[in-house]
Subunit: 268 residues, 4 copies
């Protein structure tokens, strides 16, 4: 499906400040660019580096004064859609080495503390069945409440308070999956149905790949129900939101504004 | 310098449980094995996977009942020793993409919250000078107190309580470095001077590599003062202790015992 | 019912240290002493002060070196037993002023964060019915696991990890009650069925007093199921465990040992 | 000194909700009212109860729809001003029983974790000298930054981040005093120099009362430097901010607006 994406935001840096940006749709096989245009305020320094797992890029700038980012792209998503429920869980010893870090606790996702909960609530389920049961549990028990959470909110906080935004839903999904021995990571993305329009975030879990004997693959899961894998445009992945912020400032900056729009464009 | 290392530990798993182990000296250029012997209780499953940054290996076992690990090696460490203080800090835009994740917050190391502190305390220093000033500050203000911290203790807790063990010292060093825009990671290791004898942990920071124009390298820092880079035998690296535990159990296990010894062997 | 209680513990203070003790059965109407004997190591200072809500006493000592406490009493508990389920919840504006502090968040019990949870889980119940439903929910979902929690463990931690000891069960009960607008406090006590034998802790909630029109009273609730109100010997009350520790040291002390026994003595 | 105080705020309750308010200057000996006027939206229920330590009153209302509070008073503060520095610390065993709770950890103020810090930083000082050294330390190391902290921010967070608002400054002062064995509580108040104008908060510590042999008294300390004891109009006291919020809602409400003004009125 083709989408037209616009993202623009601006901030102010009183003195020269290193800022790391990650806001562009990633150039990965299942995302085909029809057009793309990135405009940034000219800055003293500018460098692109590959982002985590080589999915997307990060941009370093050294910003001073008013700094603006304007991004537009047309992109076609051609992601193989797989029903998650029938998928088998990989045996631990078959997990590729590079997926193991996604089993470990991270800043916002502390899977180890949820082992009793997942055993009690989902103990008779494994693999895709467990993932979908956890998806449904989160969807049923949480309320989407912008403003109820903040940059320090962890999956543990969200689990107790039972509300939050896409980032919090994704953190809880990632955490419950890890507590179940299923590698899980955090995906920042664009998606058309997000309301209010903003960057979006979903979880991604590692289960068997039915097309490759003995192999595994990453599958997108959105417990907010706002996006489906076919219309998710990935920006980047990480262990949790700490890794894929659209903007990380290494010094004091004032954030000014942000506008995001994602529209489906009918290709006839 | 050559060392003889023994590490043995045992645990009990009531039912078949996936356990991830990482306790062997890493096969990396500056560590040359004279002999090595790993013995594990036979288990249903056994698999080796490369560990983080390809430094060392992790071992998956599916343990049941009493499970024992016995490890011995003789190893020679030939690490180029570099004085850290004169080293320049890399400009952010020159950092290799794969080091960027070591600037971000992790489970135990939340650098972003310490920006005011490092600015106030070390604001006039950069690069190696700042690292060594932070090293001295931690060494001066902290007490090494086994039992005062636990598996949930973060760098923030340790910073407030001003005491802990090697792991806590390393977490605080990593956190202060990240707050200063210097990539920093956690290194699990063996070292001869550790008292009481145990696995050890130190920090590693990314600064300029004086031997490669424009390049950078990782440098070991031990704020506990127990080990020096020339006698540190690396096991593995990660964003913090969550990534390089010698044993991570995906299910209930009872830990039984652990014995570590590291002795310098005089080569004549 | 008459009980014979023995409690003894010892600690070591390297230098003169103020220590606050609260380990004696409280002299309150429903607890009648048959005999009582408190023996403490002689110390430079000794003072008794009334404890919170005038329930029991605290003892200040200035300890140095080896310090031992030996306490024995025979006591008869004559507590009016009330079935909690039929009790009405007091209207907020009818709560006595001194109960209001037991609605607020305390060190270990942060009721405000559980409002969504209690609404979703117990929303159709009020008063005694809600308290008993919360009691049953905790009893069903938690495991009594000595060693799984520590002095920093909050109700939020326990709620996520779903295990702990009497103190943690009491913290969760207190927290859920407060989230429901019901004043709740923490009671340290002796009770015969505690296994392994130790000081015990339960919750106490404020509901209508059916014997006094418009009035309210405190009712004991033990979600661990180890004690019933008829055999609970109260030591003291507080907002949570921070207020009624049997020993609070204002300086460094090494705790050495503790032995508690509570036996029912048949009166013929 | 006489002051004219205006405080008005409004909120919206979608359904009937119990709300506890505490916003009026307290009727205590050192605060003499020249006039006072409290206006609230008419509500189904209304009750006044004495607040903590009988300092001020709390008001229960059962609000529905738009609810507004308008408060005006003219008040003269006649507080005996005492230089804190020369005051002796009370011996622990001489502390009145009712002050002991102000030594214990509370929601936002966990003194026990700061014992190493206060020993290292202020170890050679006691009593008033230590309080003033801690006051100066906080004043020197913290920045007053509205918006940098929130309702979950504890003294531990503020100590690490070194910034916050009056509430955070007061929490840190209270915490450091408790870690030093000095009872300390949180005071909500009005004060003329607060900028931006708002409710204010300061700490209060319990030291010797030079006018009463063997006695002690509470002394106000404001590490923000915005207010001096002679122009602080107390509203209420508690163990920390959780106890003296101007508005605590037991159900969902939307806060709409708040205006505070405190002006010195020249008495000729």
């Amino acid at each position: 499906m083709p989408f037209k994406i616009n993202a623009s935001f601006a901030f102010e840096a009183k003195q020269p400040t290193d800022v790391l940006l990650q806001f562009e749709a990633a150039a990965i096989p299942e995302q085909r660019f029809l057009s793309t245009d990135t405009w940034l305020t000219k800055s003293e320094q500018f460098a692109r580096v590959p982002a985590q797992e080589n999915i997307g890029e990060r941009i370093w700038v050294r910003a001073e004064g008013h700094f603006k980012v304007d991004y537009t792209c047309e992109i076609e998503v051609d992601r193989m859609l797989t029903e998650i429920e029938p998928l088998r869980q990989m045996d631990a010893h078959d997990l590729p080495g590079e997926t193991v870090q996604y089993l470990f606790d991270s800043r916002y996702c502390q899977g180890d503390r949820f082992q009793s909960f997942v055993d009690a609530e989902f103990g008779d389920l494994v693999g895709g069945k467990r993932i979908m049961a956890m998806h449904d549990w989160v969807a049923d028990h949480f309320s989407y409440v912008p403003g109820a959470s903040g940059p320090q909110t962890t999956a543990l906080d969200s689990f107790v308070e039972r509300r939050g935004i896409c980032r919090d839903y994704a953190h809880v999904m990632v955490t419950l999956a890890r507590a179940s021995g299923i590698p899980a990571r955090f995906v920042s993305c664009f998606a058309p149905g997000v309301n209010p329009p903003d960057f979006h975030a979903v979880a991604e879990v590692f289960l068997e790949d039915t097309t490759t004997p003995g192999g595994g693959a990453w599958y997108l899961v959105d417990a907010t129900g706002m996006a489906t894998p076919s219309d998710i445009v990935k920006i980047g992945v990480g262990r949790d939101a700490a890794d894929v912020s659209f903007m990380t400032s290494f010094g004091l900056t004032d954030f000014l504004e942000k506008t995001i729009s994602v529209e489906e464009t009918n290709k006839e």
